[in-house]
Symmetry: D2
């Protein structure tokens, strides 16, 4: 890859981005609105998302709307062709495909060093690094937006502990984000990625889904549609009851492990699957993460065994002390990102349009808000949903005054 001429890389990146842009009509309309409103002109916007064609489309949209855009992404999540194309388009790019952790940290610091006024983050890594290492930046920054469940959760904890010093818009918590991105997007793309990576089927298999949040529900629904018998493990009684009504068997992972043929960790919580769970699983179990990251799995333990062997592209087989084997997909990283192209373009059109609107909101209103985790306003949500419905040719029933009145009094 590194030996390919840069112009080819740029052309390849451009072509990939163009394909994504075809499927992102909502983002195009938001871009036009931001450009017309001039609200981002001259502001520095830092984009810290997985670097691939869809997020690149967001970066380009912000750029087209007048912002000075810089992007950062760890090496393992960067597509070089896309990074090169952004660079060629005039954005500042701090991302190198395949960079090691140390180099990634350097790049992240350089990215924060550009002094973004607005930061769009994924997993709250950059927001937290900025709090730790760039106090002046935090003091001057207008605000940030966060994309994921596993990023919003620690930000809330920081705020409760009095440590958050910025207004952060929780894009993740928008209905137009989690209902579509998490439920349909990640659910679909993680199940598809597993099938694509392994060339196996789920029909007839026992699939254990750990965590029945939106991502877990999406995984469960798609796995069941493909003929799997789904078992759900939860710590929350109400979600567990929901899983039961959706036709899933409900068991603690401890109880379910012995029959598991495939395990999806979908909790976003570190340590959700433990070494003890692993020891109870049958030989040849497939283990992967949907939505969150490898921190959900006991990867440190597995790597410490020294028995990992690649048996297929993106599949590593580990031999446990018991002699049983575990097949881990993509070293436990969220498998639709690590070994596929991430969420479908259309759902990212919704999420990333919200990010762009969150940037607008920070530029125009949120700069004066006290530190805290803020929701996306329902007005912005509705704007995004309407843009998409219009594109699909769907029509809404009008909310007449009679109906409005009836909703209050009936």
């Amino acid at each position: 890859m590194t030996s390919a001429p840069v112009t080819d890389l740029v052309a390849d990146g451009d072509r990939r981005i163009a394909w994504a842009q075809r499927g992102m009509p909502v983002l195009a309309s938001v871009r036009d609105r931001l450009a017309a409103g001039n609200v981002l002109t001259g502001l520095r916007v830092g984009v810290g998302l997985v670097l691939e064609p869809k997020t690149a489309s967001l970066a380009l949209a912000l750029h087209a709307a007048g912002a000075q855009v810089s992007v950062h992404c760890p090496g393992r999540s960067t597509t070089q062709a896309v990074a090169s194309a952004l660079g060629a388009a005039g954005l500042q790019v701090f991302a190198e495909e395949g960079a090691c952790a140390e180099r990634d940290a350097e790049l992240a610091r350089a990215f924060l060093g550009t002094g973004p006024d607005i930061l769009l983050d994924d997993g709250a890594c950059l927001i937290r690094m900025a709090h730790r290492e760039f106090p002046d930046l935090i003091a001057s920054m207008l605000g940030a937006a966060e994309e994921t469940t596993s990023g919003v959760r620690p930000l809330r904890a920081m705020h409760q502990d009095g440590e958050l010093r910025l207004p952060v818009i929780a894009v993740n918590d928008a209905r137009t984000k989690y209902l579509f991105d998490n439920l349909y997007g990640t659910g679909q793309s993680c199940v598809m990625a597993l099938l694509d990576i392994t060339n196996l089927q789920l029909a007839g298999r026992v699939v254990v889904v750990v965590g029945y949040g939106w991502v877990g529900q999406g995984v469960a629904r798609h796995a069941a549609a493909l003929g799997a018998r789904v078992v759900v493990s939860e710590i929350d009684a109400i979600r567990a009851l929901q899983a039961l009504h959706d036709g899933c068997r409900v068991q603690s992972l401890t109880d379910a492990a012995a029959d598991a043929e495939v395990v999806f960790a979908a909790t976003g919580i570190a340590g959700a699957v433990t070494r003890a769970h692993l020891a109870a699983m049958p030989d040849g179990v497939l283990l992967c993460t949907a939505g969150g990251g490898s921190f959900e799995l006991p990867m440190t333990y597995l790597d410490s065994l020294g028995t990992g062997t690649p048996v297929r592209q993106a599949v590593t087989e580990y031999v446990l002390p018991t002699g049983r084997t575990v097949l881990v997909i993509g070293h436990g990283d969220c498998l639709n990102c690590s070994d596929a192209e991430g969420n479908p373009i259309e759902v990212m059109d919704l999420s990333l349009s919200l990010q762009a609107l969150a940037a607008e909101c920070i530029a125009t209103e949120a700069r004066s808000w006290p530190p805290g985790v803020y929701p996306v306003t329902s007005q912005l949500e509705t704007a995004v949903a309407l843009a998409r419905l219009r594109h699909e040719g769907a029509t809404l029933e009008l909310l007449t005054e009679e109906l409005s009145a009836a909703m209050r009094s009936c």
Copy 2:
């Protein structure tokens, strides 16, 4: 019916209630807890729910726990055998099967005249009547609980207008209520009721669901599972987008009317289906209400035509001025209640256990709360969900300290 000997009616009612109680293990455990805690002893509890075996089981549970229980229900929703059985068991019953509106109003006033300390309502009718006509009762009452979406909505409006003078617990808004009762319970039972009433199938038909709240989602999901092509009409863009992703076509009712073969009103809002919508529907369309009531349909207009003819048990055919016909199920009342046995026993076990726990909460805590609409605490919700999961033999993963910590910081 009226000519059957009372003892037979009581025996019949007892037998029906016993069947319901078999399927309500959660309520049984709540009853035991209330009885042990003695919190309801001597209090007057008024139960204003549809009078059938499951709600009777609630009334009996409160009675067994030491409360003085009175019940009211309009004549069209009362099962006489059940009413008689409750009377024989020592409860005060203000309900007569088949009573007219005028008699119902008398009964309601007599019911309120017993001076309930706690009122469990369905549709907020009794709470509103008490506000209008029984100011002293309102002044002395400890609080109330409301079961439905269409009851909570006007209570919120009253509170915004400064007119609510009681704390009301919105049982409807509990996840253990709406996720199960509305989505699975009403969804399932309304679709089943339509099939049972008509002996028709939905396969191959275009079914229009008006409103994509929890009830509408439940109806849509079950209709699709039975082979219908589902069209959803919404006024809310985000719900509409959800319907689109669930595989439904999204159209305003105005646009969808021409192809509708079956229409389910699932809005809980008066006037959701209008005379103009009706005029656009094809000959022989089936029209019914799921979850709400006949106020959603233009029944006044239809009745004014003078063309209604019963063509089958619970099916009335109206001829419109255009010559086209409309078949209305159960005069537009929520069809699983009007012409079937309502929600499945198991989902009512959850909802009615919450009602019992709401009564406990009012007796012990809420009496001191200022007027307002209050949520069921998540503690009560979890207790209900856990009781059910335990009954089903399901197990939960333990929330360890490590996981708890990880949820804050990951």
Copy 3:
């Protein structure tokens, strides 16, 4: 019921039949064709189907087409109002609601005594009785048609043993019959009937389906759509493999019994569920038959216990020697017929139109065929399917000569 004046019964029957006829456009078109062709004029046609509004519509269609129609049905499957309406319309009716087995046999003999030229049978009971007791009738009869899997199976065995002395058209084996009637019709209506009879839900329950033929597949599919976890018991390996791919667990009934909460027998085979299976089932299991009859269940054994108690309309509780209880629906008879209105009208429109066309085929062609079990011709099948598609507004792509040629050579 018996005390109701006959004119009321007739009016009630007429109204019910009229409702069915609304949903049977295919039968109406077949009736018109038979009448125009005059092929049945003067022939005696005996109809031996479950006597309810849909089959009555068939009998009336044959009558309108010029045949002399007589009908027979056992007492437990007869709806008196419908029988009375047919009598009032000029047909010969040998069926009395609630008649005992002995009286049923008398009626069946009287029915065969009318000397039908053509016999439309359900379960092959009348065809077999005619072989045993009416040799002259068999000698003169033109032919018969059989509706069900459990009727076709013994007719094939008779033919293999050289004992069948008539041409019989196996209507059951037509794709337009079993794909719709068995899979969608019986599957849907039996699951619905169970919900309606019990007011319970299937969500969260383990449902064991015994037999994965078309009926069993239909039951499994609908139960799963309602949130059940489905276990399939089969004797055939390929069907079992199909069930596995459809997301069901596959276990012998012997293995599955211990976890069963609901058991549907869907085999059409006597003795499919044994006393030993029963002994292994948990307390309170619900037991019923879909498609076949009570012969699939160990009813003789259960009745011999003397412990049966009705606990609800159509539900009998038996206490086993172990102290555990079994709840049997409708004394084990096919539950959609015994305690609901049978298959949906639209699927019966297909099956019964095939019966009418089978009668035409016997009158015009089959009379010269040697004894045997014959398929419905694909021409008749297509005619039925086309009539229905046309009614639904569906269009077919034209089979051009190019496509025809391509199908041979591609």
Copy 4:
């Protein structure tokens, strides 16, 4: 690819084949049985299937069982690493990745020149070439087996025309083939391939499935599960009626074209989608083939326009004379093979085990059969199904003598 050292290719091929073999327990058991029985020892078996890890596993199983195995595959369906691995394992390989049509024909002739006693074909291309060009080979060959619907159809036509001169076992027609390979395998893998190739979603889209055979049903079912609204175009009325009952809209392709967003051709018939259909489709429609090949689409016409531009890996955009564009996936070849890894390993385990057993059957019995198209015996089918069920831990209910007797007489 061509420049990679052969040893690396072999190692890569070996690793891929090993992964497939892990998922093929049935083939492993068949291989052991053939080896033990010695029935293929010394026979020349020609394998003409798409050359990838799963078919390679079949070739290796036959080799391990003692046969002299040669393989052929056109260049566009050959994976070079797999071909190299087979060569290194001692098989004769006539396949070169990327070979042109002319070179492919040379390779096919050389392959037939090895004089196979038994030929396992896919699409009947080699059987037909042998009939045309290798009369002596046909005269000496013991028999052949055919894998696909589109291969069996012309063989039947040849037999009707008296031109078939071999016994051919129609593996395609085995229930253990089409129910799993076509319905679940191709259905799943083609829908997944489209998502993977495009990074799009089907939710909210109108997907037109042309042809509702087993493949089309599989595509429709999976597309619907992913939230698509499915329209089915058929020429056969009964299949169309089935689609209607499965919740699909039924329209001729001519009628459906205007709303199509995605079109799957699933007919196996040349010319199923015409230039006229294309002209009616909206701008940007996605067009692909599931199960069959590019002959179903008007590719010659499209290529003749000279407007094809690659817009993404495996996606070509054509501009029509109207200015509207069509996006064709994988130049119209069956997309799960052209641009993904074909069917899931587990379903190919069934199909390819049948191929191995067909080879055994030809070696032991079929050599004496007159020319014709023969079914796989139900004994072989059951053996395959049982082996798989055993591997999955599923159990079957025993067919007792009582049940057997009941099946004849009930």
